[in-house]
Symmetry: C2
Subunit: 375 residues, 2 copies
């Protein structure tokens, strides 16, 4: 209730509380950590004393004695380096906000990129953190193997595509998301839905493209190859690619894109052809960035908060990531009873804006959201 008395003299310790409550050190400790051991009456006394004195346990002392930091390292990189870009910033923020009530925290760190493992090792060696959150998982990433070998707990945001046998990841179901986008466009009356994606070979890109196919086939549409086109993550190239698409999209067509930047290219191409965004050609982007908001672009938004919550659950679930997929028994991964899930695949939501609304009426400034269901 009362904020701690302003830094007057020495800190309040567990011993002060014990004296005030007329009990021993350890009883106070137990009141905090194992309340079931105390008589109800005693517990109350102790809590009163804690409030009176404004006691808060010293984290460093706890870490030292418990031999664990209850903290996790979160690698960040000065801009440009990671293609994940700002999504990761958002994930960091959400993980911070979702941290289990004051029981754990995040420490940011920025290892030198040519001595990545050394940076992780350092943080671990000092006991500053117990484990890590890996913000992305690039191809050929040395970190998962190393961490596994060391027996260090970690979660990754993004599947570990290299190692399908590993659990301990959280990811967004891009495939289901894109499918949602396709279905939305079809339901809006656009007759053909094309795909503007990245070049083959990126797991994330390929996954999203599959969602496009899913959406078409599930609705009884067929997709000929001319309706899919690819571009690297660059505005002018994306614009050129989209223009190729537009030639094939007579009438009321639409384009689903692997990113908001690609979608921006599509929008430019539409303008160049003197077509009207939404009214003539629908567009859906991915990530719901500032660009999407600014341009009234319908876009798929990654559910970062739920992802963050799942990540904490995974970190808590076991301090040991283990390979799974035992050949013997059919893996019923979702047991129940404390047997926590060690993977989470979350469906994006669709933020609907004017770029996917054929009629200028409807919800003009309003913003709607739909959640896809993971297949």
């Amino acid at each position: 209730m009362a904020t701690r008395p302003a830094r007057q003299g020495d800190r309040v310790t567990i011993v002060d509380v014990a004296a005030a409550a007329g009990v021993s050190r350890q009883t106070v400790s137990n009141a905090l950590n194992k309340p079931h051991l105390l008589a109800a009456e005693t517990l109350e006394k102790v809590h009163a004393a804690i409030n009176d004195l404004g006691f808060a346990p010293n984290v460093a002392a706890q870490q030292l004695r418990r031999r664990r930091a209850s903290a996790y390292g979160f690698e960040v990189n000065p801009s440009g380096a990671g293609r994940m870009g700002h999504i990761l910033d958002g994930f960091l923020v959400e993980m911070t906000a979702a941290a289990p009530d004051h029981a754990a925290h995040l420490v940011t760190f920025a290892p030198e990129l040519d001595r990545l493992i050394e940076g992780y090792d350092r943080l671990l060696g000092t006991g500053l953190v117990d484990g890590f959150v890996l913000g992305d998982t690039r191809h050929g990433d040395p970190r998962p193997d190393w961490l596994l070998e060391q027996g260090v707990p970690f979660v990754t945001f993004g599947r570990i595509w290299d190692r399908p046998d590993l659990d301990g990841w959280v990811d967004v179901d891009g495939r289901a998301g894109v499918r949602l986008g396709v279905e939305h466009l079809l339901s809006q009356g656009y007759e053909r839905v094309a795909w503007l994606g990245w070049p083959d070979g990126s797991p994330v890109g390929d996954d999203r493209r599959a969602g496009w196919l899913d959406g078409l086939t599930a609705s009884g549409h067929d997709a000929d190859a001319s309706m899919a086109v690819e571009s690297v993550q660059d505005l002018s190239q994306a614009t050129a690619a989209a223009e190729r698409l537009l030639r094939g999209l007579k009438g009321r067509g639409a384009i689903v894109c692997a990113s908001d930047l690609l979608a921006l290219g599509a929008i430019r191409a539409i303008r160049n052809h003197d077509l009207r965004l939404g009214t003539d050609i629908g567009v859906v982007g991915f990530d719901d960035t500032d660009v999407a908001e600014a341009l009234s672009l319908t876009s798929l938004r990654q559910p970062l908060r739920p992802a963050a919550e799942a990540a904490w659950r995974i970190l808590a679930s076991g301090h040991q990531s283990r390979p799974h997929g035992i050949p013997g028994a059919a893996a019923t991964d979702d047991e129940g009873d404390g047997h926590a899930e060690r993977t989470a695949l979350l469906p994006p939501t669709l933020t609907i804006r004017a770029s996917s609304t054929p009629e200028p009426s409807g919800t003009p400034t309003g913003r709607t959201t739909r959640r896809s269901s993971t297949s």
Copy 2:
């Protein structure tokens, strides 16, 4: 050199090192913290042992004994809340990267917004951090006063406009930045330069607007009121405002904007009037966001890395922020000799792209940067 032996059994402690080097506990400690006390030979022996064993001091033990965490709290808020938006994410990243070599770190936290101070108090009370980085300083912010009262060290990113007497801040000189933008446009041959800013009353906005005036008057141009127009941070309103401007800007004109979003509005207006961006009308934005990059928009970039470095210096400079501005002596704030600066006002740099290039020639895809000098 060698990474620590893989978590085999117990941790390596200072005592192990001492034994290996044939010296005492404290000597090892001194080797790390007060090397000048040791004989050269001994120092070498100890370092050898440290490397051999892969010793890294336990942070929790240090924190406990030293009675300081060497860590600082960095408040983050789930998106939407802060208008500073993603700049703050960038600042967090840069501060992490600029952390004085492993001597301090950042802990993120997300207090409940209606119990803000409580969140700060909690973090402090547990000894988890020694102080804070305040990512923004809103009007009527309760935090600076409270922290001051508690004697807690902190830096703010952004001047404390409410309390000009306080030091301990780092900020970007928006005024100098905008002036740079104006001068750049004039030097490119645009004849008139208009201002698209935010409504009066925001300190940041007013400051940037002043930079526009600076730029014009310094170049012998005069600014009539019709050349400045304002809009809230919203695309359609910004577009409308920019269109008003365009009517007055006959010939080769240009628009400097208080943000990239406003600049986007300007770009739209330019398109609507069938003018060519850059060639007919120049535009400069502010913050050099993804939008700017995607649209080839010349924009002012906040020097986050230098700002982060300055912030660390301020945190280190004294563990007590103090009011300054003693009436007696003229304040020569920049003494020298260890008397560290407790404020830093840093000039943005201009990232030049096609939107401020009248000739389609010049540097086509190339990107140039110019630094403004703080007045």
